[in-house]
């Protein structure tokens, strides 16, 4: 049995009293934050294997990961009524170890967004401040973990979609090396960038879940055998970014504070330079949207999903289904993705973006010859407010550079709750070379011991 999860969680479905307390606690929170698109522990109990190191432990799954008998909406109208006939490999591995899926969490439609406000189905709010967003796109998973509705949740990270909401909600958000966790059952947005990852309350839970979900999968030919060097660096050197990073006051303060704290904990830091950082966002969005334009082509209303009552011909059926089924942000990204892939324009956009991607990967490799771990902010601002007061869609995209650079390079990264500033959590991230996840966990453990993460007001560890 895993040690990272409390006994209370493991016994939650053992007695009806405990279960009822739990269900009440969840519904109390859900009224306020709306983390789940579908909450149905009974369905999950039917799927559960009943034994294993996660026996009886509930967890939430982002609604772009397939779980048999549950819906699989991706936060989109076009898949609102889609019941999933199969289970994603990562979820299956946890179920096989006894874990119980309690529900599917809200997200930006098809993972396209940094607030979860792009969900077509529900609004999710930050447990720390209901006026603020949870971040995204794995906002529902982050909020559910932060509020204590589940000890951990699965999310997906294409350009920061695990780490950014984890930072906004004050939990750990872990994105593994690309390919180490099977993508089978992850509804693709940008296949070459995205990974399945973990959101959890403590770092040892992250490690233990990672141990279960990783590994080569015959269903995913891009998946890789997990082959870490095994080398343990006793005094890792941390690389930090210098100069003006364009952070808001709280984040800037937290970043400086984190560096200080780490230095005091005995981790030397040196300033590093990542000149390719400026090109991250255009390269990231060009590749992501190009892939998305093809990945989302399958939603045509013919075999599943939203379909108009009547159509004159197949063409019209497809047009109407897509027009009514997709939200504006999704349409925008499909359009741009289609544009950059046009023949005659590929050199200018898609091919160029791939070249930048290679340069970014090389840039990181160069830095990792000098340092063992990079420390970076996750997002330039703290959780912003819902609606027009927050960041607009364009600003949100520009703000993705710290997170999406990691996806372009396929590296592992861990967002951790660094500090609370003005009543809101601020997250920072550790980045390591491929397969060196253990480095991230070890530093994060030292930090966690000294500076344990705070919980939002109203959080309860035993659902009272």
């Amino acid at each position: 049995m895993v040690k990272s999860i409390s006994t209370e969680w493991k016994e939650i479905f053992r007695s009806s009293e405990k279960k009822n307390n739990y269900l009440e606690y969840v519904s109390r929170w859900e009224e306020k934050i709306g983390a789940f698109l579908e909450f149905n522990p009974d369905l999950g109990l039917k799927l559960a294997s009943g034994k294993g190191v996660f026996e009886g432990v509930p967890f939430a799954v982002k609604d772009n990961l397939a779980v048999e008998t549950f819906h699989l909406t991706c936060g989109s109208r076009i898949l609102k009524n889609f019941l999933c006939p199969y289970t994603a490999t990562a979820v299956k591995k946890l179920i096989d170890e006894g874990a119980v899926v309690v529900g599917k969490t809200n997200m930006d439609e098809f993972g396209m967004g940094s607030s979860t406000d792009n969900s077509a189905l529900k609004t999710t709010s930050n447990p720390w401040d209901l006026n603020r967003v949870t971040g995204g796109s794995s906002g529902g998973s982050a909020a559910a973990v932060a509020a204590g509705l589940v000890p951990f949740a699965l999310g997906t990270d294409t350009g920061g979609s695990i780490r950014q909401p984890a930072a906004f909600c004050g939990v750990y958000g872990f994105k593994p090396t690309y390919g180490v966790v099977s993508r089978y059952g992850l509804v693709a947005y940008a296949s070459s960038l995205e990974t399945v990852g973990v959101l959890a309350k403590n770092i040892s839970a992250v490690r233990e879940i990672f141990e279960v979900i990783r590994g080569e999968d015959p269903m995913d030919h891009t998946s890789l055998e997990y082959t870490p060097s095994g080398k343990i660096i006793s005094e890792p050197v941390l690389g930090v970014l210098g100069g003006d990073l364009g952070l808001d006051e709280e984040t800037e303060r937290s970043y400086r504070k984190t560096i200080d704290r780490l230095n005091k904990l005995g981790f030397p830091t040196i300033e590093i330079d990542l000149p390719t950082m400026e090109y991250v966002v255009p390269s990231y969005y060009t590749i992501a949207m190009a892939e998305a334009s093809a990945n989302l082509a399958r939603y045509d209303g013919i075999r599943y999903g939203y379909r108009p009552e009547f159509s004159e011909n197949p063409d019209e059926l497809v047009k109407t289904a897509r027009n009514r089924g997709f939200g504006d942000e999704v349409k925008l990204r499909i359009l741009i993705g289609t544009y950059v892939l046009r023949s005659g324009f590929q050199e200018q956009y898609y091919v160029r973006a791939q070249k930048i991607r290679t340069a970014i990967r090389e840039d990181f490799a160069r830095v990792f010859s000098e340092v063992d771990i990079i420390l970076m902010p996750v997002f330039p601002v703290i959780a912003f407010k819902h609606g027009s007061e927050g960041l607009d869609q364009f600003q949100q995209k520009l703000a993705d550079k710290f997170t999406s650079s990691v996806n372009l390079a396929g590296l592992p990264a861990l967002a951790f709750p660094a500090s609370v500033e003005g009543g809101l959590p601020v997250g920072m991230q550790f980045i390591s070379p491929p397969f060196e996840e253990e480095r991230l966990f070890r530093v994060a453990e030292v930090y966690e011991r000294e500076f344990p993460p705070a919980d939002p007001p109203g959080y309860s560890a035993d659902w009272r």
């Binding site: 772009n64 990961l65 397939a66 699989l72 991706c74 898949l79 889609f82 999933c84 006939p85 199969y86 994603a88 993508r183 089978y184 059952g185 992850l186 509804v187 693709a188 940008a190 296949s191 070459s192 015959p218 269903m219 995913d220 030919h221 891009t222 190009a290 892939e291 334009s293 093809a294 082509a297 399958r298 939603y299 045509d300 013919i302 075999r303 599943y304 011909n313 197949p314 059926l317 497809v318 289609t338 892939l341 046009r342 023949s343 590929q346 898609y350």
Partner: protein, 802 residues
């Protein structure tokens, strides 16, 4: 002059057990939407997993097409929306396919040509959409089945060539076992790109043709399209870049949609599949699957087993057939015998059952056994035929069939001798009759021996023993008239009767002491130039009868000189595999006028006594091959053989063993062929219109006697035969080309030759006009289809230097 360019895009469905990216069954004809899963239905979140069997077959095909094999094969997404394409993109290959820059060699009208293969790539197939009244229905069973696309360079020029390419390609993939090659059912699909331009100006405006679901349609559609484009250019117009489809009901291509700009498929690398990087082990496993391909196997069979082109073609048509052949040989059967049986009796039974030999009750062991029994003379041919039939109907071993039916032959010399003695004793008077010089009763005696043994006496040995006992051999002399048997009356030669041939040999010692009986039969009594199909029919039927009667030591045919090259080659095409000598002879003067007639006849008879089987022409003290005999000037010394490296007297026959030699049937068959044929000698100023008039009058086959290595006027003038060729080709008329000179017709040297080739004329290589003409008659008679006849015409003989 215009040049046409044809490139093919071929899709083949690979015969894998499961689909290319999921575990669904890859089979056809099942209930709609039963072989589907979330992967091939493009459900959210699924990923493709590459089927190793499919990629192996792809590499194998690329290897067979001599491609550069990719060490880093990349899959790409080809984006387009269509309801039968679940993901609305197709996983295909664009920049780094399985194979590139390969080639396949084809042989067309004696020319070996290398057709370049641009690329071979693996992709997934789409489903099927059916519009049924108010609704559109979709069947996704085919979705995700592996499809291999093969793109050729525009190296083909005419429909016939493309047809040959597609036929060879089909044979190849069936040999490899990667595709069943069924064009009607769509497991092999072909689209073509055609362009026409003035010679030397490079490619013209490209037109794509779809819906070519048979190799015949490939030929017809392309030829139609080339002509259509030439006509447009001729009128000074421009060809529109478009997609057209073949309308098989109206025999024409029609526009589908105008391609204003190429559709943008927005290819980009498939992020869900890593590049396939084959290791040495994989590549080794691919090469170990390589088989000997049809063309080289056919060539080897011809060289190693001395099969004829036609036999080798038939046997190598299917890999299972060729395997069967070699398995039978390996069991000790004679290759020639095996091939003969496979392409006659066995073929007939298979056709009747509509099956292939490997799926029939006849196994290599059984056929080898039958041939062994035949060789050991345990059974004779007639019994062997019956045994083959019973193997098919009763599925029993040959020995069992023979035992059950009591068909074992008596081959023991002593036993046969005793039986023959007994028969001769009871027919003493018949034996005396034979000794008096009448050989007719020999057949009667044979009949009695057969009766006494219930037909089990081995015929040849029985015959031999009987001859020995009777001390008798017969040479049959068949007189066809001509000067050799004519008389000289009032200063002109008139047909006469063959004199008393016995008088030729007053001294019996000239036969080396052998007792020879000469039997003369007057088949015709006219001059050489008066010969008719009926005379030929009678001659052929009689030769066949004499060959069958088994008491003949040899056959001599006396003939006129003028048409001797025709009759000699005709006899050869029918009886080239004869077991006794057949000798044709003639004389330029009548008997008595000079010793020529008598000398020639004497030499002919003598030469039969050497016993070397074959068909010969004996004139004076020289022997000529019956094929490619040329009558150059009057006098028996006026004959020569053209294009003959070494004389050709004997060889495999193009006539099947079970051919019906009934005189009336022969006559009808010959007349049918002759009535549809015409020999036209090309001359300066020849008008195409006259040949067209002949076509309209029903001529289906021309022997065109051209200049040199096969040239004629093909410029756009009234004196060009180009229009004749065009007109004829549309109507299925065949032009077999020979030369007015000695030499080889292969269309190799002149631009006019190339035009002839392009217009579908068929070069006859080293064959002379006379021999080509008689071969045509035979080919038409023995073939079920015109294609088969043309194939026979193109089949070659080593000795005729080509």
């Amino acid at each position: 002059m215009y040049q046409s360019y044809i490139g093919l895009e071929i899709h083949i469905q690979l015969l894998t057990r499961s689909k290319v990216f999921c575990g669904c069954k890859a089979s056809f004809g099942d209930e709609p939407n039963t072989n589907i899963c979330p992967v091939c239905m493009g459900y959210p979140g699924i990923l493709p997993a590459l089927n190793e069997e499919a990629i192996r077959m792809a590499y194998l095909t690329a290897l067979a097409l001599n491609c550069e094999i990719s060490r880093n094969t990349v899959f790409d997404r080809k984006n387009y929306y269509y309801p039968d394409l679940p993901k609305n993109y197709q996983i295909s290959q664009f920049g780094a396919p399985v194979g590139k820059n390969g080639y396949m060699d084809i042989e067309f009208h004696r020319r070996r040509k290398r057709i370049r293969i641009n690329e071979v790539h693996l992709e997934e197939d789409a489903g099927k959409m059916i519009h049924a009244g108010e609704v559109s229905l979709l069947d996704f069973n085919r979705t995700g089945t592996p499809l291999l696309e093969i793109v050729t360079a525009p190296d083909l020029e005419i429909g016939e060539e493309a047809e040959v390419f597609i036929q060879n390609f089909r044979k190849m993939v069936r040999y490899l076992g990667v595709c069943d090659g069924n064009m009607e059912e769509g497991s092999l699909r072909c689209d073509a790109n055609v362009s026409v331009n003035l010679r030397g100006r490079g490619l013209g405006q490209k037109v794509e043709i779809k819906n070519l679901n048979s190799s015949k349609f490939v030929r017809k559609a392309l030829n139609f399209e080339i002509e259509r484009q030439e006509e447009i250019l001729e009128r000074g117009g421009t060809v529109r870049q478009e997609t057209r489809q073949w309308n098989e009901n109206r025999d024409l291509t029609e526009a589908m949609r105008i391609k204003e700009s190429a559709q943008d498929y927005r290819y980009f690398p498939e992020p869900d599949l890593p590049p396939f990087t084959p290791d040495e082990e994989f590549l080794h496993s691919v090469s170990s699957l390589m088989v000997e391909l049809p063309l080289s196997r056919k060539k080897r069979f011809m060289e190693e087993y001395k099969l004829t082109d036609g036999q080798a073609d038939f046997i190598c048509e299917e890999r299972s057939r060729a395997d069967f052949f070699e398995q039978t040989i390996a069991l000790g059967a004679d290759p020639h015998q095996t091939a003969t049986w496979m392409s006659s009796d066995v073929k007939r039974h298979l056709n009747r059952l509509g099956t292939e030999v490997n799926e029939s009750p006849l196994t290599p062991v059984r056929l080898a056994k039958i041939l062994k029994l035949l060789k050991e003379k345990k059974i004779h041919v007639k019994i062997a035929k019956q045994v083959v039939e019973k193997v098919f109907t009763e599925d029993l071993d040959p020995e069992e069939i023979i035992r059950r039916n009591g068909w074992e032959q008596i081959t023991d010399r002593n036993e046969l001798g005793r039986i023959i003695e007994r028969v001769l004793r009871s027919y003493n008077h018949v034996m005396e009759q034979v000794h008096r010089g009448d050989s007719k009763p020999v057949g009667f005696l044979m009949g009695q021996i057969m009766k006494a043994t219930s037909g089990r006496a081995e015929p040849q040995l029985t015959q031999k023993i009987l001859w020995e006992k009777l001390s008798l051999r017969v040479v049959n002399i068949l007189s066809m008239g001509g000067a050799i048997s004519a008389t000289f009356e009032d200063g002109v030669i008139v047909p006469g009767r063959l004199g008393n041939v016995k008088d030729l040999f007053p001294d019996r010692k000239s036969f080396n002491g052998k007792r020879i009986r000469l039997e003369a039969l007057e088949l015709a009594n006219n001059l050489s130039e008066e010969i008719t199909p009926e005379d030929w029919a009678l001659l052929l039927a009689t030769i066949n009868e004499k060959l069958k009667s088994t008491d003949s030591a040899g056959i001599v045919i006396t003939h006129g000189t003028d048409t001797l090259p025709y009759t000699a080659s005709l006899v050869y095409w029918f009886f080239s595999d004869t077991e006794i000598p057949i000798v044709l002879t003639a004389s330029s003067t009548v008997p008595g006028k000079s010793p020529e007639a008598e000398e020639n006849l004497k030499n002919a008879i003598s030469s039969t006594l050497t016993g070397e089987p074959g068909v010969y022409v004996i004139l004076g003290d020289r022997s000529y091959s019956p094929v490619n005999l040329k009558f150059q000037h009057v006098g028996t010394g006026g004959f020569t053989n053209w294009n003959m490296e070494k004389p050709l007297y004997r060889g495999p026959s193009i006539v099947p063993g079970d051919f019906d030699f009934n005189r009336e049937t022969l006559k009808a068959g010959l007349e049918d062929g002759i009535n549809r044929s015409f020999i036209a000698r090309v001359f300066p100023g020849m008008k195409a219109d006259y040949l067209i008039a002949l076509i309209n009058a029903g001529v289906k086959f021309f022997i065109l006697e051209l200049y040199d290595t096969g040239t004629a006027n093909l410029r756009e003038t009234p004196y060009s035969i180009k229009n004749t060729l065009l007109y004829g080709r549309e109507r299925g008329v065949k032009f077999f080309c020979t030369s007015q000179q000695e030499g080889i017709v292969d269309f190799s040297e002149y631009i006019t030759s190339h035009e002839l080739w392009k217009e579908g004329a068929i070069p006859m290589g080293g064959l002379t006009t006379e021999s080509a003409y008689t071969k045509l008659l035979v080919s038409v008679m023995v073939s079920e289809t015109e294609e088969e006849a043309v194939r026979l015409m193109e089949s070659t003989y080593e000795s005729i230097s080509i």
